[in-house]
Symmetry: C2
Subunit: 309 residues, 2 copies
């Protein structure tokens, strides 16, 4: 597989997610921590203006600004649209400092644990995710790939990379335990990539549990768009746990339960994420799949058989 | 003691604390819920502009705008300074709808449980707090009184009343369990006041555990004001638990522990409150006191002997 020559670690794509911002600040004070002999590691605070005012964004969500057609559209003039172009022109394909691997650091008010979100099914990404899951049981692997649809997320500027989504932690808050766990994941990724460059990365010849995005569920709303119910207490913080048809997902302000009306077991994530109220998302629902990863020993290339339940 | 003729329930003093805002919305849809025969109950969204933009405030913290000298100062023109004047002129002493009792609904990213914050030591307030603590073990009573200092909080517009501070919950998030627990406290307060008006309020002839504000501790900061450490994982979410001299309170980004340097046991609250980073407050420290409440049976007036440990 391809050699990794440059890695970029991004914090502050959302200005009120402090874990990534303070990790990047730490790495900028102590760059030795993230250097490995076979590649260069750079850092970036993606949305410094949003960080300065303690908000997710100033004009629009930066992490939805990376669609190719938007990056090429000269008429988009919001601060975030311009930042996306600068970031892409720097670290993206054919950028002035083109990166091969991006780690985009996020946090969530949902109980996301240590989530590795993959935007594509490149083998290096899958092998890396399987490795991380093998060394830390808190790691969850979430696919946000969508068939035939381009992605608008920052991590799509590179062929390889992932978004780290850690939680639960409130916006504007540093949680020391999550800070240290996130840092440990970053070091594990860098070490893995260094081993990969020397063709000695630990290859996980096993099955990988991955959660595949199926869609979203919004809050019940009235004609004015006001929400009419809350996440049910029995669902709160139960990200990645099975939700069965008929189980309650919402509780109205008058105490009425609203059940999940799907016809199969799903695994909700991003349950009660503060930033998603305005997006019309109460939770994302996923299905759980076991990926069987087979290693061709000679070539060190992998085959992935998807066992779509 | 005085009769209560008008109660005002306030939500949205901070625009991103949704519990109180959605409770007030509920009461405005169903005003019967909060009516009692011997007094009138009104509701207020205190900072609608901040709620509309999903922020704590627009210009400045409304809950620090109620100092008498600021309410009388015609030169203060921020949105919140003007709102404070309108609120005071409506519900404050000699206001057009002068209230006798205010319930100001707040939430915190700290693990405040169900905190009753008292701004003064009026007997009705103390008896009510003792009653609430007696019916719900999650209730904590916190005194934010400061000797010889006027208070700037909204709940100071009335002689009687309190701030309800519930948590932990992220800003911009509704937690259904906390919503229902907060509503139960409000109903208990209204029922208590109705009984009080008929001189049959349950009087708690016992000791009341109360936490008295001693001051605040800021994060370690560099010369630019940037924080240099996080709340220590062992202190996170341990509001109202004893903190001993020498126990760690901060963890630097490089993993160094910073101990509490006081010389006596204290009880921190508001630990890692998101809104307090900008105020220079990592936590408030309190001391725990037992108040002995003695009831004079004939007059139904109480005497409070403070047993300041």
């Amino acid at each position: 597989m391809s050699q990794i020559k440059r890695v970029v670690i991004v914090g502050g794509t959302h200005g009120n997610e402090l874990t990534g911002i303070y990790l990047v600040k730490k790495f900028e004070r102590s760059p030795d921590l993230i250097q490995r002999s076979s590649f260069e590691t750079l850092t970036l605070i993606a949305n410094p203006k949003a960080y300065a005012i303690g908000r997710r964004y100033t004009d629009t969500d930066l992490n939805r600004c990376f669609l190719p057609r938007d990056l090429e559209n000269p008429h988009l003039s919001s601060y975030e649209a311009q930042r996306a172009k600068v970031i892409y022109q720097t670290f993206g394909f054919a950028g002035s400092q083109q990166a091969d691997f991006v780690i985009d650091l996020h946090s969530s008010t949902a109980n996301m644990g240590l989530s590795i979100i993959l935007g594509n099914e490149n083998l290096l990404n899958i092998q890396l995710a399987a490795y991380l899951a093998s060394i830390n049981p808190k790691v969850r692997v979430l696919y946000s790939t969508t068939k035939n649809q381009e992605r608008s997320h920052l991590d799509s500027i590179c062929q390889f990379g992932c978004t780290l989504e850690v939680g639960a932690v409130a916006q504007g808050v540093l949680d020391a335990a999550l800070f240290e766990e996130t840092e440990a994941i970053i070091h594990a990724i860098l070490d893995y990539l260094a081993d990969h460059n020397q063709a000695k990365a630990p290859l996980i010849n096993d099955t990988l549990t991955a959660y595949h995005n199926l869609g979203t569920i919004d809050y019940p709303r009235n004609e004015l768009g006001e929400i009419q119910a809350m996440i049910h207490p029995r669902l709160q913080f139960r990200d990645y746990q099975p939700l069965h048809p008929g189980e309650p997902i919402f509780l109205t302000f008058d105490g009425q339960e609203i059940p999940y009306e799907g016809d199969s077991i799903v695994y909700p994530v991003f349950i009660n994420e503060a930033a998603y109220y305005e997006k019309g998302i109460a939770m994302c629902i996923t299905e759980k799949r076991e990926l069987e990863i087979k290693i061709g020993l000679k070539s060190q290339e992998s085959m992935v058989n998807r066992n779509d339940q």
